[in-house]
């Protein structure tokens, strides 16, 4: 039984936000009498994450996903509640805790802009007390996994976004952290670079049993990497559970396009009790509940003369999109 590596209880975070009316009058008013209000961005959330799990945080812009990650890695101080990550209180930023985690935030970089990435890697190695020989071994291993080579010796400012992101990842993983916090790691990358990054993360997770918490607006990141998702809506958790279950709940039926050998067969099928979405000559689209797909298809294949059939999954973006605007999903 794997242990909980992250334990969050009744966590809340509020920010003081100031607001200003437009124009000169608003500016003068703002200068003399600044109006601030307390905005509760995270509202009493609780969850646990087990060692080795890959968990995706889903939510609309401003839902609070990144704020949660920032609190988990100790960047910002929680207003209320408790967090335990690897047995530590993240905000105390104890050396052993920091040596166990890493945070990658989209295009925010820690590489030294004017120097080749290799210099930043050795600097990071010194910061994490890794000797030069060991650092060299880790750089070699990670650069092979990430498929980077010559780029390590070219100044960062001359690298493409994809190359930079890989180098960024290498810099962030040189200390071999057990917990990875990834905030939109594939932001701005092309399709191939996104795929390679995902492949790398899966490999890293398998080889090191690292726990990965990530946010992403690319559904492919979530579906390829995460078995479990936590949906955040206006600072509260609207769903926490398996991605499969969520998808089944949100789209309980599949659409099946059947090409019958004749129009008569299509008419017979139309009148056989299935929910028909549309019909066009010998082509008919029916809706079948996920839990009866096999039996329904058996019946159709045994009783009708079928030329071809296609099972269509509803687009994942559309399905997940529904969850981002809803407050609660009970499964």
């Amino acid at each position: 039984m794997e242990q909980n590596i992250i334990d969050v209880r009744n966590l809340s975070k509020s920010f003081d936000i100031s607001s200003k009316e437009p124009g000169l009058k608003g500016t003068i008013k703002h200068f003399f009498r600044r109006q601030t209000k307390s905005l509760k961005v995270i509202k009493d959330i609780s969850f646990e994450i087990k060692e080795g799990e890959i968990v995706g945080f889903l939510g609309a812009n401003g839902a609070g996903k990144t704020t949660i990650l920032k609190m988990l890695c100790g960047l910002i101080y929680p207003s209320k509640g408790s967090i335990s990550v690897s047995g530590y209180l993240p905000f105390r930023r104890k050396e052993n805790f920091l040596k166990n985690i890493t945070l990658i935030m989209g295009q925010k970089q820690q590489l030294i802009w004017d120097l080749p990435p290799i210099e930043s890697f050795y600097l990071n190695a010194s910061i994490y007390d890794i000797d030069k020989f060991e650092a060299k071994r880790r750089i070699k291993k990670l650069s092979e996994m990430l498929e980077v080579d010559e780029e390590l010796f070219i100044p960062v400012r001359k690298l493409s976004l994809g190359q930079r992101m890989k180098s960024e990842l290498l810099a962030a993983l040189i200390h071999e952290p057990n917990i990875l916090f990834l905030d939109e790691p594939t932001l701005g990358l092309d399709i191939n670079a996104q795929r390679n990054l995902r492949k790398f993360l899966i490999k890293y997770n398998k080889e090191t049993n690292a726990t990965i918490c990530l946010t992403s607006h690319y559904m492919k990141d979530i579906t390829s990497l995460c078995k479990r998702v936590i949906c955040v809506h206006e600072g509260a958790i609207s769903y926490d559970g398996k991605l499969d279950l969520l998808l089944k709940k949100l789209s309980p039926v599949k659409e099946i396009l059947i090409v019958c050998s004749s129009e008569e067969d299509a008419i017979k099928l139309e009148n056989s009790g299935f929910t028909v979405k549309n019909k066009n000559k010998n082509e008919i689209t029916i809706k079948i509940a996920n839990n009866s797909i096999t039996s329904s298809l058996k019946t159709i294949l045994n009783n009708f003369d079928i030329e071809d059939l296609y099972i269509n999954e509803p687009p994942i973006d559309e399905v997940i999109g529904k969850v981002l605007i809803k407050k609660d999903y009970e499964i």
Partner: protein, 244 residues
Amino acid sequence: MLEYRVEIALWAISGIIPFFMLNIWTNNNLNESINISDIMLSRYFLCAFFVRQFSVVWVVFSFEEDSLMGKVSPYLIQPLNPFFRYFAQHLAEQITRFPFALIIAFFFFIFNPESLWIPNLGILLLSIVSTFLSFLIQFLIQSIVACLCFWTEKASSIERLLFIPTLFLSGLLAPVVSFPAYVKSWIYLTPFPYLIDFPANLLSGNETNISGGLSMQILWIFLLFPLFKKIWSEGTKKYTAMGS
């Protein structure tokens, strides 16, 4: 690479305020009023130039920019206080400045051969220590101001306010000895005269209280360091990781 070399040369040249001040002082015979000879005055301002080259600090501007751009966040989750990075950057730049400062000194002596002198090894070592202590004091003062970014976002405005007493009371524009006696007694209670005036006087061979000056420098470091630690600890609680 050419632009980097030019940039380094410009860094070194940008610190030549003491030479302008030397010109103003000697052209107006202002040194007569404080009983300093022309030679000693020119040595003082050359030393002030050197001390300034190796103690100038800009951490507040770097930290403010990094803080506003969200670059501090990755540093904060590393097991090293981000100010060590800035400290290392400053040291690296000081080393880079050294050859350019020597070139400027070479030309200074070409035009002022009578000012040429070689300080004895003991004084030279003490001056290096004192210049480093001056750098530490300035680094701590600016780091404390930089931490105000956690509250104000624009801590550099406060630094600009601090720059005024630094400019007038540190000995950059005039040796502190030139101030009236009652003002001097107050100035010596502040950290400012130990930033330029004391190390420059020490190196140039002017009369100065070596043990008193070094003690005051160390005292200021001991006062400023816990203050920095406290403000850092309180400030990071306020950190909102904006821009990231």
